[in-house]
Symmetry: C2
Subunit: 243 residues, 2 copies
DNA sequence: CGGATGGTTGAAACCGTTCAAAATCTGTGG
DNA sequence: CCACAGATTTTGAACGGTTTCAACCATCCG
């Protein structure tokens, strides 16, 4: 199989948790049978579905959501280039959340059977996937702090820092500029705010000269100030040591 | 090794995710080398520590916490009888959270090496542990909804339902009575409220006749009403089919 | 150019916080 | 069994961050 280059962020992600040999990468690449592009706003997985494959983000932003009866909606995770999601298929029953694309994205599937075979045969891959889930969990814990204990401005600052470091780890930051295709409603759903208040908080950081945004890009102008404001400490992302 | 009976909730928990054979249980029991009682309020793990073993709750309540510089504190998980935690030791670096006992508790350790050997040799156990982590993650997502989108009363009602079903699954409910040794500050830290408001919300449910509590026990008087109020749907707990 | 979507701003209402004091509970020792 | 001290719970009142509603503006795209 020709190396297309699409999988690069994924490989980089997994290798950072557990050293992978070239033949691990080959095996992984061979097992990824289907690829698919999705449009912003598209819903990939719905609550109540039965999962039968693992998903990988090759490129783009995806969100995980829970919805209440009356329509209130909360994002519980944000997935970026190289992230793995829905390992929860191990828990056999139905999905308790929905997955939506927040930007145009490129994703890949790994069928359940292939995953099981792969993780039996290649402990390094199993370990890496395992670690990736645990990092997701760690991020969710930090979101709980965002939503529960930080003020709107603080938690937005924190989210920007998180995005910066996560994207940097997969090589998706250039000169402090990150992809930011989110509407303010998207941000509000991640931080558990109203979209109006999300707007005010974002505006405040812009007026204070910490960030700038437009045309689906966000520029980080003063990272140290953002980190101070958001009380950000990158430890929870469990990134590899500085290169 | 004599069967002490202590491990029963743990076995029941793991077996519900992946059918375990008697020799799996023996192996597990043999690997659990140390046991320890802890007193309410004791801190087991601190932020910044390097984890070197997996922990199991044999009996009691433990909480996972994140603390901000200025002292604001948020509980990110609550562990009950049979729960496994700190699988995050797979991610090699330092702990980004603290673990505290919320009641007197009985815990067991599984050293890192033993765990690795065990999970290599016994795929059923590895699967069960894997599944247990994913359920923890699922619970955390629901907490995010609690904290982010539900009102104080709703989220307290939801928490009570969650406790009821989780404890019921390990046989720790009798006649609608569950252990409830939490102070209102404890509850407040789980739901991201002030302790004063936690008190008001709890009082409201008592006045409405949905619950009653005292002497470290809480009685569920009207489960259907609680579930309606909290918008509770047990699916996210991924409990085994009704027995 | 016009319609739709998303962003900004203002004012009022609300849920939850904070501060403070009183009431109650719990455990301990006498 | 009672008394007492400390911790926890309850209640009240004032304050504040966030939401809601509503209007207006900007931008994008056919």
């Amino acid at each position: 199989m020709a190396f297309t280059g699409d999988e690069e962020p994924l490989f980089r992600r997994l290798a950072q948790y557990s050293p992978l040999e070239p033949d691990d990468l080959d095996a992984l690449q061979a097992a990824v049978v289907r690829r698919r592009g999705v449009r912003a706003g598209e819903q990939l997985v719905s609550e109540g579905e039965r999962p039968d494959h693992l998903n990988l983000v090759l490129h783009g932003y995806l969100g995980r959501y829970k919805t209440l009866n009356d329509g209130r909606r909360q994002a519980t995770s944000l997935y970026v280039d190289g992230d793995v999601f829905d390992l929860r298929m191990y828990v056999l029953d139905t999905m308790d959340h929905a997955i939506c694309a927040l930007s145009d994205a490129e994703i890949a599937f790994l069928p359940r059977d292939a995953l099981l075979k792969l993780s039996d045969a290649r402990p390094r891959i199993a370990r890496a996937l395992w670690a990736a889930t645990l990092v997701n969990e760690s991020i969710m814990a930090e979101w709980l702090v965002n939503v529960g204990r930080r003020s709107a401005v603080e938690s937005f600052a924190h989210l920007v820092c998180e995005l910066y470091w996560r994207l940097r780890a997969v090589g998706a930051v250039q000169d402090g500029v990150i992809a930011f295709p989110f509407t303010q409603t998207d941000v509000a759903e991640m931080l558990a705010l109203s979209s109006v208040h999300a707007s005010r908080s974002m505006g405040r950081l812009r007026r204070d000269g910490l960030i700038r945004w437009g045309r689906r890009k966000l520029t980080i102008l003063d990272l140290p100030a953002l980190e101070r404001l958001g009380g950000f400490d990158a430890g929870y992302l469990h990134l590899p040591p500085r290169t």
